[in-house]
Structures are given as structure tokens and as C-alpha cells.
């Protein structure tokens, strides 16, 4: 009996020693199959893009509550830098599943790294979106981006300041830039306020001006720099200098100073994209003191209209693990959800480029902040008039050159040689 028990004990020990290893080997490798449960999104502007993402995240959680959406806010420059670093290195680690890219830059990314982006042609219907957004968001007939906000521009203005300077709402409609400068001078004289705030490093205002005339830094092929022969650009430069010389410009160096200038009442007008609406509205004390007029046009250019575009961006899915989930997320929110767009418009002020959304009630609503003006209906109207241009691939490369040349121009350099020098620099750089 004793012997038996000893033998049993020994065998139990040996067996238990052998079996302990096998349990641990099953744990790894379980996640490979099936949909990824976590996606990461990069975007900028908490008041606008991030807020819209939060809303989409909420909508999507009803569809698929298991998926965790990580929204990460970076400055736009950071996103560009991180994307370039990541894509250049050829590793996908550290890249997000979804990224917001400004339309001006989209083509350079798509054509440089076509494999890095996930094609969405089958997941969304491009014809559902405003046509002018499809150029920047697609490449070789393949749709890569989900068009998001409209960059339709308007002239936001402080009714109180302009009234002090003797201008009515009617006087603000369909201005040209010469008239605008005159108003600026009057405002400065009457109120001491500047008419506009500008960042010397950001020529957004120039871009809006030339697009109003259907012109761009690049020729229609999207590749050839079109500077020295660009009449609209030349006129825009001159208007820019004229504004500066009239001393009606406030200078800021970054976004927060820009917003501060608006919110603190430092300036009287903001001629920019409609995405500024939520930032303007965030200063509740100024409710009723703002209105939006159409964007000024170039006085010396027959093609110029009182409508333009500034910024505007779209969502892209990157070819990293989780692309399927990310596509599904976009397709069921920004890609198709009319209801959500209505809500985005109402709550945040997002003027979308999703056609079906522009017909809803929200578009015809009166905004009390803007004294009951139906601003979204106005933007929808102006959107239709935006001249279509090909942004091409080198918008910002050329703008960097132009920013320096602009300083030279402001310092007294002749306009023609400014543009000529810029042209030759651009030609060597962007080729």
C-alpha cells in the first residue's frame, strides 16, 4: 500500500510538472483574425474638426459599440510632418487609421504615396459630394478621400463697428477689394479697429483672391508654376500691399492669436472660410454683432466672382491594420449619414460638401448669433459659385517662396521682378 502511494505521488509530481507549460502557449495570436477593435484618427481644430469627429464617434458607437475610436488632436503642421516622416520611413507603425488632410495638400500625398492610402471607391459614392471636392480627393479615377467641409469663403464682419463707420449690411454685399480697403480705412478712422488680421507667413488671403478669379499658383495641369503670367496673382499681391500700406491690418503669428483677434474685437472683418463660424461664435458676448457677406472679388479681373474657397479638408483612410474598420467608420458617418450632417451643421456649424445634407432644414435655419441671418443658406449659394481650380501638388511649396517674395515686395521690390524671381525659384524647386 505504501509503495503504491509513493508511486502515485511521484507520477502526480512528474505529470504536473509536464503539464504546466502547455497552458501558456495559447494566448498569443488570437487577435489577428477579425475586425480591429480600435482605430485612431488625427485631426486639428478642436472647435471644428475634432468636434465633428466626436459627433461621428457617438453616431458610430450605436452601429458598432465594440470599436474604440481614439481621436488625437495635433496641429495641422504636426500632422503633415508626422505623415511625411512615417510615409518616408516606409513603416506604417505610428500612423493613424484615419487622417484629415487639407485639400491643397491631398494630391501631393496621394501621388507620392498611393499605396499608403486605402481606396474608398467601393465604400462611398463620390457623386454624393460636391464636385469641386472630388479633384483633390481622388487620383487616377480612384476615390481616396471622404470629402468633408466646404471651404466656401465669406466676409464675416462686425455690424457694430461698421455701423460706427457708417456702413450698412447692404453696403457690404458684393464688394471688391478696393472698396474693402476703403471701408477699412473708414473703420480705422472711426473706431480705431483694424479691418483684417493677417499672418505674414500665411498667404491664405492671396489664395482666396486668386481662386475667386479661377486662378491658382499652378497652371491647370497642376504641375507648372503659374506666377509671372498670373494677372490675378499680381493683382492680389498689389491689394495685399495696399492693405498693409493703408495700415488697416492687424498682424498675428498663429491660430490662437488669430482667434484672439476675432474674439477680442481687435478687428472688424474676417474674410475667410466658413469653418471659422464656430470660432467666432465661441465668444458668446458678441452674439448679434456679426454678419456674413459674400467674399470680395478682384476689382481688376473680369473673371473674379464674389465667391471663393479657403481650406477645406477631407478624411483619408491609411493602409495600416484596421483599415477595414476605419473605412466602415467613415462610410457609415461622413460618407452617408445625412442626419449626422444636419446635426453637425446645427451644433458645430459644419458646412459639408455632402449634397444630400445641403437640402435639409438645418440649412435654412436662422442663426441668432448672426442676428437671424440664414448664413448656411448663403454659404450654400456661394459654394455653387466657387470657381473650380486644380490645386495640384505644390501649393505650399510655392507659397513658401511667395511668402518671402511678398516681404521683398513689401520692402519695395518691383512687383514684376518679385513675380519673376518667384517663378524661377518655383520652377527649380517643384519641377
Amino acid at each position: 500500500m505504501k509503495k503504491l502511494s509513493v508511486v502515485l505521488l511521484t507520477s502526480v509530481l512528474v505529470l504536473s510538472a509536464c503539464s504546466s507549460k502547455s497552458e501558456e502557449s495559447n494566448t498569443s495570436g488570437g487577435e489577428a483574425a477579425g475586425k480591429s477593435k480600435e482605430i485612431t484618427v488625427w485631426a486639428w481644430d478642436p472647435a471644428f474638426n475634432i468636434a465633428a469627429l466626436e459627433a461621428a464617434k457617438e453616431v458610430y458607437s450605436a452601429t458598432d459599440p465594440d470599436v474604440k475610436v481614439n481621436i488625437i488632436e495635433y496641429a495641422q503642421a504636426d500632422i503633415i510632418q508626422k505623415l511625411n516622416t512615417g510615409l518616408n520611413s516606409g513603416t506604417t507603425s505610428g500612423l493613424p487609421n484615419i487622417v484629415l488632410i487639407e485639400d491643397y495638400r491631398a494630391q501631393s500625398f496621394l501621388s507620392a504615396y498611393p499605396d499608403a492610402f486605402h481606396e474608398l471607391s467601393g465604400s462611398i459614392k463620390p457623386e454624393d459630394f460636391a464636385e469641386y471636392k472630388l479633384g483633390p480627393t481622388s487620383l487616377n479615377g480612384k476615390q481616396y478621400g471622404v470629402p468633408f467641409d466646404s471651404g466656401a469663403t465669406g466676409l464675416y464682419y462686425r455690424t457694430d463697428y461698421l455701423e460706427q463707420a457708417g456702413y450698412k449690411a447692404k453696403d457690404m454685399e458684393n464688394l471688391n477689394w478696393d472698396q474693402y480697403i476703403e471701408i477699412g480705412k473708414a473703420v480705422k478712422e472711426k473706431t480705431g479697429k483694424k479691418i483684417i488680421t493677417l499672418d505674414p507667413n500665411d498667404l491664405g488671403i492671396i489664395r482666396s483672391m486668386i481662386q475667386s478669379a479661377g486662378s491658382w499658383y499652378l497652371a491647370e495641369d497642376g504641375k507648372t508654376p503659374d506666377i509671372v503670367t498670373n494677372a490675378a496673382l499680381k493683382e492680389s499681391f498689389m491689394i495685399y500691399k495696399k492693405m498693409m500700406e493703408a495700415d488697416i491690418v492687424n498682424i498675428h503669428s498663429d491660430w490662437s492669436q488669430f482667434i484672439a483677434a476675432i474674439n477680442k474685437g481687435t478687428i472688424a472683418t474676417v474674410p475667410t472660410g466658413n469653418w471659422i463660424t464656430p470660432s467666432i461664435k465661441q465668444e458668446a458676448s458678441q452674439s448679434g454683432k456679426w454678419a456674413v457677406a459674400s467674399f470680395p472679388k478682384l476689382p481688376g479681373n473680369a473673371k473674379s466672382v464674389n465667391a471663393s474657397n479657403l481650406g477645406g479638408s477631407s478624411w483619408y483612410v491609411m493602409n495600416v491594420p484596421g483599415a477595414e474598420t476605419a473605412t466602415d467608420f467613415l462610410a457609415s458617418t461622413f460618407g452617408s449619414n445625412v442626419e449626422m450632417y444636419q446635426k453637425l451643421l446645427k451644433d458645430i456649424g459644419v458646412v459639408s460638401t455632402f449634397k444630400a445634407a445641403s437640402t435639409g432644414d438645418a440649412y435654412s435655419q436662422e442663426d441668432p448669433f448672426f442676428s437671424g441671418q440664414k448664413i448656411y443658406a448663403d454659404f450654400a449659394l456661394w459654394t455653387e459659385k466657387i470657381p473650380n481650380v486644380n490645386y495640384g501638388m505644390h501649393t505650399y511649396a510655392i507659397e513658401d517662396i511667395l511668402a518671402v517674395e511678398m516681404q521683398n515686395y513689401l520692402n519695395g521690390k518691383e512687383i514684376d521682378s518679385v513675380l519673376k524671381d518667384a517663378q524661377s525659384q518655383a520652377e527649380t524647386q517643384v519641377k
Binding site: K3, V6, V7, L9, T10, L13, V14, S16, A17, S20, P46, I50, E73, Y74, A75, A77, D78, K194, L198, D199, P200, N201, M243, M244, E245, A246, D247, I248, V249, N250, I251, H252, S253, D254, W255, S256, Q257, A260, A403, Q407, L410, N411
Partner: protein, 594 residues
């Protein structure tokens, strides 16, 4: 104590196998536990040494990482201080749009250059001037309001000591979720060297998670790095959960190590047994503290579970082998012991079977050899004793013969004096016959018939001496005549009867009876004499002293012993006697026929 004793007694009484096996179990377990403990202890020591060496190096590396960051910052700050464009941007009063735009543009160009010094780091540079202008390369760092920044401790502390670059921790409150992103901000007042006029402040902010990258790769679970400021607040750590909290404990350790210059401390951190290494970052005015949770770190290095399992398996295998071997040894020993205890049953004739291991076989052979030797020795001893007894007997017989001779010769002298010449001759003739038989070897046997002849001669001599008032009768079964008996085995009893049996009675008879029942020869000497007192039963053994008194000459016991010595236990002499009714002596002998 008593329990111990009881246990020990119990143990002592256990079987050999159980004892050996218990000792083995205890020893093997003790040895394996001791070895495991020693190994773990040694590797712990080794780890401690390695740890203190490598982690000191790691710490130095981290330190140099921080120092190169500091160097870059120092460069940026001094460049900023030397830049005239920046100075004018920061000091310029209100100007027209054009010059403001130029100033801003120049500033941005300067900042780009400045930033390029820190391209290796994820930082945001913010510069604030006395004129209220703020320029920031990235507003996501230090996103607070410009006015708020002016009143912030970050600014105030810099202005307090305008010549020094100081590092401070700062928690950014971002608008969206209200969660603070901890930052490390290097700040310095920008001042005009010649006049000491402070015209601005430069802030270089780094998110804690980027700051922590300097040491993040060196950390692991249980191996934590903390950066403390001089107040004991944790400004950076791989342990996100502890950033922003005060740790007096760590500060004390850091200060202690700073003053004592010891390599490492072996202390408790947050209640956990840990190693602590610390160094200070003089340029930052921070302490860098590296803690290692011993339990986790050693747990990663020493897999106690596996070690224990291996130990158990080895002990288990060893025990089963020991069990088998011990059982085999003890089995052959037990067999040996069993055989040994049986050896005495057969007069040392049993040899044991020699099997089992070498030792057991040797033991068995030695034992067999010993048994053989013993056997020989006993045989020799028996032989010696026999010889001794015979010698003794012969001596006694010779003694008798002399006595008898004396008596007989006295009788013959009397007969000669009486003139009965013929009777004297006959008596001498009988004496000669008796002597003839007596002189020869004592151990020799003779036939009953011969013995009877001797007896008759002897009786004749006695009759001649004392007269025939004591009659002697012979009743011998004819088939007994041919059996052999030891010479003169009956004669002493006749002699006794003659000389001691008839002291009171003057006449009587002596009968000699020889018979057999097929198994033994019975020679009886029955007299009708006085009888002997104190011999109540047939079984009673003869008392030597008494017999001496009653029987002259040869002791009855000697005869008895002699017979037993010659033929075995079942033979011998017995006496029955009753006072006044005579004595019966019965000699039992084996049937011997030559």
C-alpha cells in the same frame, strides 16, 4: 522534549527500509531546498551587482541625454538673446501694419532658425515680450492666454533670476477634455546684458511624454525612472500615474545618496522592497531617481515557478530511484537476516544463499565462513571434552581397581591363611580375569556376555572375601547376549550394592537383569538392601555428593554423563530406591551389535 524523545524512540524502532527511506527523503528535500535557495540568493546578489553597475551606466546615459537636450536649449536661448530682430519684435511699440508685418515675418524667420537647433526634439518655443507680443512655434504647447502667461509662475520665476535658465513643470489644460498634459518648460528671461533690462521671456516646452523618451527605453515593468524637482514633486516618469505628485520618500533617498555618495540604496519604495539609484541633474535642478522593484525585477529574472517545478521533478525522480534501491538493499538484508536466524536450527549446518549486492554477498560469504569455522570449532570442542571425560573415567577406574585389588588381595591372604588353597587359587584366577579386562582401553565396548563374565568373576571374588550371604542372580535375555556395552558399565553398581547396600541388613540378593524392547538395551541392578533415603522417584537425578556417600568409587553421575556423552540424551542411568526396600539402578543403552 518528550515528544522528541517519543518520536526518536519510534524512529529507532522502525524497519531499516523505512528508516533509510525517511532519512533519504529528508536529506534530498533539504539538499534541493538548500541548493535552490543558494542559487536564488546568489543570482539575486549577482543581479544586485549587475544592476548597480548597469543602471549607474544607464543613469549616466540618461543624464547625458538630458544634458545634450540642455545644451541645445542653452544654444537656442543664447541665440534668442543675441538676435536683434527678436529684441525689436519684443520691444517695439505699436507701429503701422507694414512694419508690424515685417517685424512678424522677420520674427518667424528667426524662430525657424531657432527651432532648427531643436529639430531633434519635440518642443514648442514661445517667446513673450514686454510689449505683450507673443510668438509661438506651436501653440499646442503653452496654449494659455498671453496675459495669463505673463502672470504665470513660469514667467515670474524666470524674472526672479533672469540670468538663469530654469526648468519647471507645467500642466497644460487643453480645452477639449480639460485633462492636463504635463510639460517640462525651460524658461529664461531675455535681458540686455549691458543694462540688465529684461525685455522678454523665452519658453521651451516639451511634453512630458517626449521629455520622458530620454529614459523610457531604459525602463520596464518594475524598473522605473522618476525625475523629481527639488521640492520632491515628480515632474517626469515612465509611471504616468505618479507624475505631478509629491514624493517625499524619493526626495529623501535622492538627497541621501547625493550627500553620502553611495552606489545604491536598498530600501522600500511605496511599501515595496526596491533598489534605488539616484543622481542629480544640476543644470535642471532636478533629481533623477531610478527604482527597481525587487520582486518584479527578480521575478522576471528568476522564474521561481519553473525552478520549483524542476526541483520537484528532480526530487521526485531521485526519491523514486532511492526508493527502489533502498528497497532492493533492504530486501536482501532482510532475507539475509531471516536466513541467519534460521542457521541455529540445524546445528550450524545451514549455509545461507549468497545473493544481492556486492556487500551483501561478501557478508553472506563471511557469514558462511564463520558458520563453517564455528562448526569445526564445536566439533573439536566436543572431541576434546570426550577425551577429557574418558581420561577422568580411566583415572577413576584405576582408582577403583586399586581399591578393589587391595580388598581382593586381603581376601586371598585370608584364604591362604585359612589354608583353603584351592579357593585362593580360584579367587586369584578371577582377579586376573577382572584385571585383564580392566587394564585395556576404557572406551572399548564388550559384549554383554563378556561383561557378565567379568561380573561373575568379580562377584566370586567378593563372595570369597565376604562370604555368600548376599546372593547374586543373573537374568539375561538370550537375545541380549550379543549386544555391546561399555566395559565395566555394570560392575560399579554391583560394587556399590555389595559395599553400601547391606550395611543394616546382613543378607539379601542382588539381581542383574538385562533385557531389550527392540529399541534400547536395559541393564538393571536390583538389590534388596537398605535402600537410599531421598530418592523417591525414578526421574530424580542423582546428587553427586549423596551418591559419593552411598556409592563408593565411581560416581553414578559420571557413568550417567559418560553414557550420554557416548550415545546421546535419551540414554543414561536412573535410580529408584526406597528406604528398607532396596535400590533399583537402571542403565539404558543403545542396541549395538558389532
Amino acid at each position: 522534549m518528550n515528544v522528541m524523545r517519543t518520536l526518536f524512540d519510534k524512529f529507532k524502532n522502525l524497519k531499516l527500509f523505512t528508516k533509510m527511506f525517511m532519512v533519504m527523503v529528508v536529506s534530498i528535500i533539504a539538499v534541493s531546498v538548500a541548493i535552490s535557495w543558494t542559487v536564488i540568493h546568489m543570482s539575486t546578489d549577482l543581479f544586485m551587482q549587475t544592476f548597480s553597475i548597469t543602471n549607474t551606466k544607464v543613469l549616466n546615459q540618461i543624464k547625458s541625454g538630458f544634458e545634450s537636450y540642455n545644451d541645445a536649449i542653452v544654444t537656442v536661448v543664447s541665440n534668442a538673446n543675441q538676435s536683434g530682430a527678436m529684441k525689436s519684435f519684443l520691444t517695439q511699440g505699436d507701429a503701422d501694419s507694414l512694419s508690424t508685418a515685417k517685424s512678424y515675418f522677420n520674427m518667424s524667420e528667426q524662430m525657424k532658425k531657432l527651432k532648427s537647433n531643436l529639430d531633434a526634439y519635440e518642443v514648442g518655443i514661445t517667446i513673450a515680450g514686454v510689449n505683450g507680443r507673443v510668438y509661438s512655434t506651436d501653440r499646442s504647447y503653452l496654449s494659455m492666454d498671453d496675459k495669463k502667461l505673463k502672470q504665470h509662475p513660469l514667467t515670474l520665476n524666470s524674472h526672479k533670476d533672469p540670468k538663469r535658465l530654469i526648468y519647471q513643470d507645467y500642466k497644460e489644460i487643453t480645452g477639449t477634455n480639460g485633462l492636463g498634459e504635463p510639460m517640462i518648460v525651460a524658461s529664461k528671461a531675455l535681458l540686455d546684458r549691458s543694462t540688465g533690462y529684461v525685455y522678454g521671456t523665452i519658453y521651451i516646452s516639451m511634453k512630458e511624454r517626449d521629455f520622458g523618451q530620454v529614459f523610457d527605453s531604459y525602463t520596464s515593468l518594475g524598473n522605473d525612472v522618476f525625475i523629481l524637482n527639488k521640492n520632491g514633486m515628480i515632474v517626469s516618469s515612465n509611471r504616468q500615474d505618479r507624475i505631478g505628485y509629491m514624493s517625499q520618500e524619493l526626495l529623501d533617498y535622492a538627497e541621501q545618496m547625493d550627500t553620502e555618495a553611495s552606489d545604491y540604496l536598498n530600501v522600500s519604495v511605496q511599501g515595496k522592497d526596491s533598489f534605488v539609484i539616484s543622481d542629480n541633474l544640476p543644470t535642471y535642478d532636478f533629481y533623477i531617481v531610478n527604482t527597481i522593484d525587487k520582486e518584479i525585477a527578480l521575478g522576471q529574472m528568476i522564474d521561481t515557478k519553473t525552478l520549483t517545478l524542476i526541483g520537484i521533478v528532480i526530487v521526485g525522480i531521485a526519491l523514486s530511484i532511492v526508493f527502489l534501491i533502498t528497497r532492493q538493499i533492504s530486501k536482501s538484508l532482510t532475507k539475509l537476516v531471516l536466513q541467519m536466524s534460521n542457521v541455529t536450527h540445524n546445528e550450524f549446518g545451514n549455509h545461507i544463499t549468497v545473493t544481492g549486492s556486492y556487500e551483501i554477498r561478501e557478508l553472506g560469504q563471511a557469514f558462511n565462513y564463520m558458520v563453517d569455522e564455528l562448526h569445526d570449532y564445536v566439533d573439536k570442542l566436543v572431541e576434546t571434552q570426550k577425551g577429557q571425560r574418558n581420561a577422568e573415567l580411566a583415572a577413576l577406574q584405576r582408582q577403583i581397581n586399586l581399591h578393589f585389588l587391595y580388598n581382593t588381595l586381603a581376601s586371598v591372604k585370608t584364604l591362604v591363611q585359612q589354608g583353603s588353597k584351592e579357593k585362593a587359587t580360584e579367587t586369584i584366577h578371577s582377579l586376573i580375569s577382572v584385571l585383564q579386562n580392566t587394564i585395556s582401553n576404557v572406551s572399548e565396548t564388550i559384549m554383554v556376555e563378556q561383561e557378565l563374565g567379568i561380573l561373575k568373576h568379580y562377584v566370586f571374588i567378593n563372595h570369597a572375601r565376604y562370604g555368600d550371604r548376599i546372593k547374586v542372580g543373573y537374568f539375561v535375555a538370550p537375545e541380549c547376549m550379543d549386544y555391546h556395552v561399555p566395559k565395566l558399565i555394570i560392575q560399579p553398581f554391583i560394587e556399590n550394592a555389595f559395599f553400601h547396600g547391606f550395611n543394616v541388613k546382613s543378607s539379601g540378593y542382588i539381581h542383574v537383569l538385562v533385557s531389550t524392547d527392540g529399541q534400547a538395551l536395559y541393564c538393571e541392578v536390583v538389590d534388596s538392601g537398605d535402600g537410599i533415603e531421598g530418592l523417591p522417584s525414578e526421574d530424580a537425578f542423582l546428587n553427586t555428593k549423596k551418591s559419593r556417600q552411598m556409592f563408593s568409587g565411581i560416581g553414578i553421575k559420571n557413568v550417567h554423563d559418560r553414557i550420554r556423552l557416548l550415545y546421546g540424551e535419551e540414554y543414561g542411568v536412573s535410580i529408584v530406591s526406597e528406604l528398607g526396600n532396596g535400590t533399583r539402578v537402571k542403565i539404558t543403552l543403545p542396541l549395538i551389535k558389532l
